[in-house]
């Protein structure tokens, strides 16, 4: 297909326009958000925010290893050692989550151990750990909130039960573990009607 010459010129003009940086007096096609430096989320109070609390996500109790919660049972009487080190306790935890620099207190709160701590310093209970996970995994958090990521049970037109991220992903080693599949179907050739033969 060939375009008539004037049209071609117009197309070329549009392309070159949209590719040149908007230093001239012409208005930019996609102006940057006003007040460079502010977060878009700050301007749109309705936009989902990773640390938005107060929403109703009914979840079962967090999947604690038996006997570890409340953490303060042991930790309240212990001194807090903030140095990165080989732990003498919790040796079943293998940290395989994110960069090597990851460390307990990135998520756990050194003062009140029964809470988790967001990057902002806000404390959240373990039952709302999705707010913590959502800080880095914003896309998954968004999908989870609308029911696209993760599992929901209950009623498609009513009350639903959600799961915490930690119910499916071990937070210290979040990769989903392989499972043994249930048996394959019987090939049709091997299916026998009872009483046949």
């Amino acid at each position: 297909m060939t375009l008539p010459r004037p049209l071609l010129l117009l197309v070329a003009a549009i392309i070159s326009l949209s590719c040149t940086p908007s230093v001239s007096s012409k208005p930019a096609l996609f102006p940057p958000p006003e007040g460079e430096g502010t977060l878009v989320a700050d301007k749109a109070p309705d936009a989902p925010r990773a640390d938005a609390g107060g929403e109703d996500f009914p979840v079962p109790p967090p999947p604690f290893t038996e006997g570890v919660f409340p953490c303060s049972d042991c930790h309240a009487s212990m001194e807090t050692d903030l140095t990165r080190r080989e732990l003498g306790m919790h040796d079943y935890i293998k940290l395989e989550h994110g960069p090597r620099e990851r460390w307990c207190f990135d998520c756990h709160n050194p003062t009140d151990r029964d809470k988790l701590r967001l990057a902002s310093g806000a404390l959240v209970p373990f039952s709302e750990s999705y707010r913590l996970c959502g800080q880095c995994h914003g896309d998954k958090y968004r999908d989870w909130r609308v029911g696209v990521h993760g599992k929901r049970t209950g009623f498609w037109n009513g009350k639903k039960q959600y799961l915490l991220c930690a119910h499916c992903h071990n937070p210290h080693s979040p990769h989903f573990r392989p499972l043994q599949p249930l048996p394959p179907p019987v090939a049709p050739a091997l299916i026998k009607a009872k009483g046949a033969e």
Binding site: V148, K151, R152, G154, C168, Q180, P183, P184, P185, K194
Partner: protein, 303 residues
């Protein structure tokens, strides 16, 4: 409408004669030797033609029969479609690990025959490098662990087509699409000709070659007439989006069992439903789109 050969008067009188002779002969012999319930079952009308009283009688008969055989109360529900609901399903191919939990949850919930075996869901193992390729897929994979490296899994079940070829082929209209989009079968009307099975491009319909066997202690006693009630030999059955659950607001059994949350279910007419969120925000495809069957079962990539 096609002209019906039965409208031809000469044809009609011949048919009537043959029918009269046939009915008289067989009914005479048949009715003499059987009880009331069998007689009622034999003359039972098409489900959609039953009036309220007739339906109540049919249900009472079936419940009595099933309960006696199961040795526990079995209920047969006839809840109709909800207004303003068109059911849709979405399955996340980037999540499914091929564990087949859904297959067996479905068998249990819907009272499928254990022997000979009937599965309404088939999980296909496919090679990542080939993409979705049905002919290269393997339903019989039997590895120790799933997912196998380099493979992905695609569960296939009834796609609840909006333009269902199976319904068109049924010579006796024993299968049809309900207002909520679910394609159902009246097992009392099905003649077992299996035309619908050959018309289905998804292999989603299954035939009871023998008397289905379901262990009594595993029989799900909460049934729907158009869904999981016990089937006789010689009829076709298929996924109904768990009509006995979904018409009461519950998720289908396969949705609830899936350990990775790959399965999504809801009302396509509700913009806030999970399926609509998927269709609006993810990369979605339907299986064998070129056949214009218009499935209401959507595959998507949730990553």
């Amino acid at each position: 409408m096609e002209p019906d050969p039965r409208d031809d008067p000469s044809e009609s009188s011949r048919r009537q004669f043959l029918k009269a002779v046939g009915v008289a002969a067989s009914a005479g012999a048949f009715l003499a030797g059987c009880d009331e319930a069998t007689r009622e079952a034999f003359f039972q009308k098409h489900f959609k033609e039953l009036d309220k009283d007739e339906l109540a009688k049919v249900i009472a008969r079936l419940e009595k029969d099933y309960s006696a055989k199961a040795g526990k109360p079995v209920t047969v529900d006839t809840t109709p479609a909800m207004d303003g609901v068109l059911f849709g399903y979405a399955l996340d191919l980037s999540r499914c690990i091929g564990c087949r939990r859904c297959v067996y949850a479905c068998v249990k919930e819907n009272n499928q025959s254990r022997d000979p075996q009937i599965h309404w869901i088939t999980v296909l193992e496919m090679k990542k490098e080939r993409g979705v390729d049905i002919f290269e897929s393997d339903p019989y994979y039997d590895s120790k662990e799933v997912p196998r490296p380099g493979h992905f899994y695609m569960p296939v079940q009834c796609q609840q087509c909006q333009n269902p070829p199976c319904v068109k082929t049924c010579p006796v209209q024993a299968t049809w699409q309900e207002p909520d989009g679910i394609v159902v079968v009246d097992y009392n009307w099905c003649i077992g000709c299996r035309c619908c099975m050959s018309a289905c491009p998804y292999g989603a319909r299954h035939f009871n070659w023998a008397d289905p066997s379901v262990p009594i202690d595993e029989l799900n006693p909460v049934t729907h007439y158009l869904g999981n009630r016990p089937r006789p030999r010689g009829v076709v059955e298929k996924c109904t989006f768990c009509v006995q659950r979904s018409r009461h607001g519950k998720y289908p059994a396969c949705v609830e069992i899936c350990p990775v949350g790959a399965r999504k279910f809801g009302n396509l007419l509700d913009p806030a439903s999970e399926v609509r969120e998927v269709i609006g925000g993810k990369r979605v495809f339907i299986l064998k789109e070129e056949l214009n069957t218009r499935p209401k079962f959507f595959y998507f990539y949730g990553v």
